[in-house]
């Protein structure tokens, strides 16, 4: 046995798939490799990954990729040009602005919303869920009642009411979506925590005198991360759609910012004759949220084979 293992080259396929890892790093890399292999078998998931990578690329290099200024149009010569016009691949809007350039810059806003909502809502959900699940008793009861109350609101309606009170704007839209997004994460983190609260490694850490704070932070939270990441990825599409809905109602990013939902709203007036003004941003939203859905589905199947195909 030992002879065989010595001949295995580090970082080779056999090394990664070895069921007797020699080091912690080998075990971790091996596990990541298995997950990646399962993920890569799923062509739709790879497509989703490519869409999201493309979104990141476009957002990073919008300044280089965009052929025109996203905010300043050519009002005299280029109003409402159809797609395929000279120099304007996807046409122009009523202010003579290149739709393609606006979409490219708009990807930054979409990414901003998604990232900020995730950064705000996921940790809140994680903390509430793990504390609730680990502590149990009345702390659990109170925290879960609060979670249920926020879960009881339809997301879009609560976000609408919040933005109506806070005032329109992209920061308030992000805040409102974050407030409506954390409860499912808390539920998931709690359920995960409950499954290993009584397990032996937690008892061992307790016996060594670790404080509840340390146990939750160092031992419970890391174990909840993978299912949380899957759920957040699956939620991204919903976040994008809610943000676009708020933008469409004039409650999100304000003009002249090239937010995709707001762009659809501004194209609504010309929808019968110049359909492309409203149609193009919708296609962008559809592609990106489809990408997140495919990626999330793929991640779930790869990380949790039990649920695969369900």
């Amino acid at each position: 046995m030992s002879v065989v293992e010595q001949t295995v080259k580090p970082y080779s396929r056999e090394w990664l798939l070895s069921d007797r890892p020699q080091s912690r790093r080998q075990a971790k890399l091996g596990r990541a490799y298995v997950v990646w292999r399962r993920f890569a078998e799923n062509r739709l998931a790879l497509l989703g990954l490519m869409i999201i990578l493309a979104l990141l690329f476009v957002a990073a290099f919008a300044g280089v990729l965009a052929p025109h200024d996203p905010l300043q149009g050519d009002l005299r010569n280029a109003r409402l040009l159809p797609p395929g016009s000279e120099g304007y691949l996807l046409g122009t809007d009523d202010q003579g602005r290149d739709i393609l350039s606006r979409l490219l810059y708009g990807s930054r806003l979409t990414l901003l919303v998604v990232v900020l909502v995730a950064v705000i809502a996921a940790p809140v959900g994680l903390i509430v869920g793990t504390v609730s699940g680990y502590a149990g008793g009345w702390i659990d009861a109170v925290l879960m009642r609060i979670t249920d109350i926020f879960l009881a609101f339809p997301k879009l309606v609560l976000a609408l009411a919040l933005v109506a009170a806070l005032g329109p704007g992209i920061e308030n839209a992000i805040l409102a979506i974050a407030v409506t997004s954390w409860p499912p994460y808390a539920r998931i983190a709690r359920a995960e925590t409950m499954t290993f609260r009584q397990s032996e490694f937690i008892s061992a850490v307790q016996l060594m005198g670790a404080s509840p704070f340390r146990i939750v932070m160092r031992h419970v939270m890391p174990l909840c991360l993978s299912s949380l990441i899957v759920r957040v990825t699956l939620d991204m599409a919903g976040i994008i759609l809610t943000a676009a809905g708020l933008g469409f109602l004039g409650l999100g990013a304000q003009p002249p910012l090239p937010e995709w939902g707001a762009m659809i709203a501004s194209g609504r007036r010309f929808i019968l004759d110049q359909w492309w003004v409203a149609a193009m941003p919708g296609i962008a939203i559809l592609i990106v949220s489809l990408g997140f859905n495919l990626l999330g589905d793929g991640l779930r199947d790869a990380l949790d084979p039990k649920e695969a195909g369900q």
Binding site: L156, A279, G282
Partner: protein, 355 residues
């Protein structure tokens, strides 16, 4: 043998009543606390977040004494918990304040527009369930086939597409270009004068009164927004049906039924689907609640005079009373449907009772 069976039956019966009663108790406690929390949140949004709710009502150019009077009228000089208590009492007596936009009491407005939303959401759910369940069953039975992939993609697109955008495009195609459906709105203006609905549910009223012209016109108006909402509910229902059916088809009773020589169609439609029906009821109820939310944007696109359009119109006019009243009503209905489906699930499915 017969004796043991009867005794088992009575024992089961005796056990079921307290189980149902405790479920019912649970239902009311949950409903009460969730509603209280819901009102706390809307109270917070309406009274605490705005820097000065009095200014929000009279505008910042109003003279000082007017602002002071409004502040007293609203009870803004009282401590927050007293304000919240007053708010609770008002809501309990059906007082959501007056709409600035329509100058009616908000509750009157909501009662007037809500039936339109219910009608739309019901049509949407029916379309979603009638198409979604067979699609989900098909996908589960032919797991991994082209049909399964197609159903999956239909569902994924449903999860990913902005509903208002799809609605706009559908209007351009089916109304403007093809002329298959009627213009946005609930019915033609002609009928506004001739047709007097007894309730807010126009479709039922028209059928009841035998006004078939009106029925046809109402149908031409509701079909597009209804199908659109139905698509979203289809995406959810077909996905869940597939999952439930996969679970049922892997059970041993299916093997037993096959061994007995039952036809595959009979196994699928009578045995497996019947067992999947209980969770499906929950799913349909949840998707119905989801459509109440989806109706906000759909009604805006299709000028459908329901609660969603009422809320967005009030938003554009900074009519906070109306927005919060609408939010409370949608939230309360949402809570009610969720808890009811939970209760239904617990009562219908014997397996959940042992827990």
């Amino acid at each position: 043998m017969a004796l043991t069976e009867t005794s088992a039956a009575t024992r089961r019966h005796r056990r079921r009543v307290p189980a149902f009663a405790s479920a019912l108790m649970r239902f009311f406690v949950m409903a009460a606390t969730t509603l209280l929390g819901l009102l706390a949140v809307t109270f917070f949004i309406g009274r605490v977040i705005p820097i000065d709710p009095a200014l929000a009502i009279v505008g910042d150019r109003a003279p000082q004494h007017v602002v002071e009077r409004i502040r007293l009228e609203l009870g803004l000089d009282l401590p927050l918990y007293q304000q919240f208590w007053i708010y609770l009492k008002q809501v309990a007596s059906g007082d959501f304040g007056t709409s600035v936009l329509t100058t009616n009491p908000v509750l009157t407005d909501i009662l007037r527009v809500f039936p339109a939303t219910i009608e739309l959401a019901t049509v949407g759910t029916i379309i979603g369930a009638v198409l979604g369940i067979p699609l989900g069953v098909l996908a589960a039975v032919k797991r991994g086939s082209i049909a399964d992939q197609v159903v999956r993609v239909i569902g994924l697109v449903g999860y990913s597409v902005p509903i208002f955008w799809l609605g706009l495009l559908a209007l351009v195609l089916f109304y403007a270009k093809l002329g298959w459906v009627a213009y946005p709105g609930r019915m033609d203006i002609v009928y506004e004068y001739t047709f007097t609905p007894a309730t807010g549910f126009y479709l039922l009223d028209a059928v009841w009164q035998g006004e078939w012209d009106v029925v046809r016109d109402l149908f031409r108006h509701i079909i597009l927004p209804g199908t659109l909402l139905g698509y979203f509910s289809l995406a959810y229902i077909s996905r869940m049906t597939r999952s439930f059916m996969l679970n049922e088809l892997s059970q041993e009773y299916v093997v037993a039924a096959r061994a007995k020589g039952l036809s595959e169609a009979r196994i699928i439609w009578f045995h497996a689907l019947r067992n999947a029906a209980v969770p499906l009821v929950t799913v349909i109820a949840l998707s119905y609640a989801g459509l109440l939310e989806g109706s906000v944007l759909t009604e805006t696109i299709f000028a459908w005079p329901g609660l969603g359009l009422y809320i967005t119109n009030s938003l554009q006019n900074a009519d906070m009373n109306a927005v919060l009243g609408g939010t409370v009503v949608i939230g309360a209905v949402f809570v009610g449907i969720n808890l009811l489906s939970d209760l239904l699930y617990r009562t219908l499915d014997p397996r959940t009772r042992s827990r």
